[in-house]
Symmetry: C2
DNA sequence: TTGCTCCTCACGTCACGTGAGGTGGC
DNA sequence: TTGCTCCTCACGTCACGTGAGGTGGC
């Protein structure tokens, strides 16, 4: 009737998700009345959509219909997000399987100290995409509202801890000429650095390939340094609707051009 | 460089998915050369797409590029299938959250023995959808090729074991007047039965709601019998491209109309 | 008495993550 | 000597599934 297996029903009883109407004391047999069917079906559908059991419980315990609907809608939005992401990875992988890829070109560059308006926070890697969207929108809106002249591309600094411990300091910034402070936006000086630079073309979902190529190049050259990774957003989805047009510069810290390899 | 965590790298070493280039004997330190980067990226992408680790290993061990591509393509096709299914469940759930649903109407009916051309096999519930597609296409093709007159709708019989043990006997059949035997298609007599019947409207993904309503009705009436569930496919995706047009009859075995409830 | 279906309890699975406690090299 | 990073080992997590051994009611 509900397509739930016996083992699953027992499991849901054990974790208190779907309690039998009556349990025989002597035999331990579980009895379920038919008024539990709608709940059972809802549970099954939410589980099909990989909603965690704790969240399903919240849905079932929701006091009113609107609270319930908002819990489910939130999950559906998350689902639709991951659906889109999965589709990107799939199409990206199809490209990877294709005949050939353009080689990744690496360039060395030294950049001076740069004055920027930055949002700097400690972020978990799982929340990075969301954080990035919010922060970039906030920076751009503030620059527009204040009529601040922007001197270059939107950029970001990503501390090594972010990749190693999955939590670390991130800065997103716009280069400026005049100080700009407001709310969590503050004016800072991004220190100059010697960098190995590669440009990634296309969606951010495929950036791992360019990261891999650049990281390999740096490692094989033996000139790597620890320090934050820098990204410059030359063309973002705010600038173009064509995925293939997107351009992201990845900058890896290296020893200076005059450094002796000791 | 690869976005794989340290723990994940250790795990992949342990299960033999990605072996370090060199392991220091004294300290146990793992060292990875940059030529492992492409493999690491491929692993990460396949795992993002939830390909099981054993399958990823098969991909990495594939001898030639074409074998590798076919393994990946197969997984991508499965992925795209589940993507579509997920989208159906999502949109279906949005409907469920909507204002109201038409009540499910239940009718009692007695059907006589029926001569049919049937494909009968033991099937696992996970393979049922695929099996159904193959079998229905085969039955229809055979009827067309032989010019056999078809007397009614495509139908199916589903043994209770299928739902309880997730593996059981399934028959898919077309009613006929003359015997029709070929390959796995054979002529059989579907025994008559007393049934409680409900019509499901819309995609098969949402049929659980109608199953729940019909099963509840039968249980509450106290006239249920064990026996195979019967489905009649009044309008299938072979007949219409509009999901809302789809019609499936679900028939639940019950005691006869003249039976005394003892 | 024989099947049948239900039960409990303990352990397995999958792909890692967590956390305690320890070690080598700068 | 102090941090730092790596290590091992054992156990935890999530949502069930498996399988052994037992029981009640027809």
């Amino acid at each position: 009737m509900t397509q739930l297996s016996i083992k699953t029903l027992r499991h849901y009883h054990e974790v208190g998700l779907l309690e039998p109407t009556h349990v025989d004391e002597a035999s331990g047999y579980r009895f379920y009345a038919t008024d539990l069917v709608p709940s059972a079906l809802l549970i099954r559908r939410l589980r099909t959509l990989e909603m965690p059991v704790v969240d399903v419980r919240s849905v079932l315990n929701a006091q009113d219909g609107s609270e319930r609907n908002s819990l489910i809608s939130k999950h559906l939005e998350r689902m639709e997000g991951t659906l889109r992401q999965t589709q990107t990875v799939v199409s990206d992988l199809r490209v990877m399987l294709g005949p050939s890829h353009a080689p990744v070109l690496v360039e060395r560059r030294s950049v001076p100290d740069t004055l920027v308006a930055a949002i700097t926070e400690n972020v978990a890697i799982g929340e990075l995409v969301y954080w990035w969207q919010e922060a970039s929108a906030e920076l751009r809106a503030l620059a527009r509202q204040t009529g601040t002249r922007v001197n270059g591309f939107l950029g970001g600094l990503y501390a090594p801890e972010l990749y190693i411990e999955e939590f670390g300091e991130v800065s997103l910034f716009l280069p400026i000429s005049e100080p700009l402070n407001s709310g969590r936006v503050s004016t800072v000086l991004v220190p100059g650095a010697h960098l190995a630079v590669a440009v990634h073309r296309g969606s951010y979902a495929g950036i791992d390939r360019t990261y891999g190529a650049l990281g390999s190049w740096v490692a094989d050259s033996g000139i790597g340094r620890t320090g934050p990774i820098r990204e410059n957003y030359l063309l973002t989805s705010a600038d173009t609707s064509e995925e293939q047009q997107l351009r992201t510069e990845i900058c890896w810290p290296v020893t200076g051009p005059d450094a002796t390899n000791h």
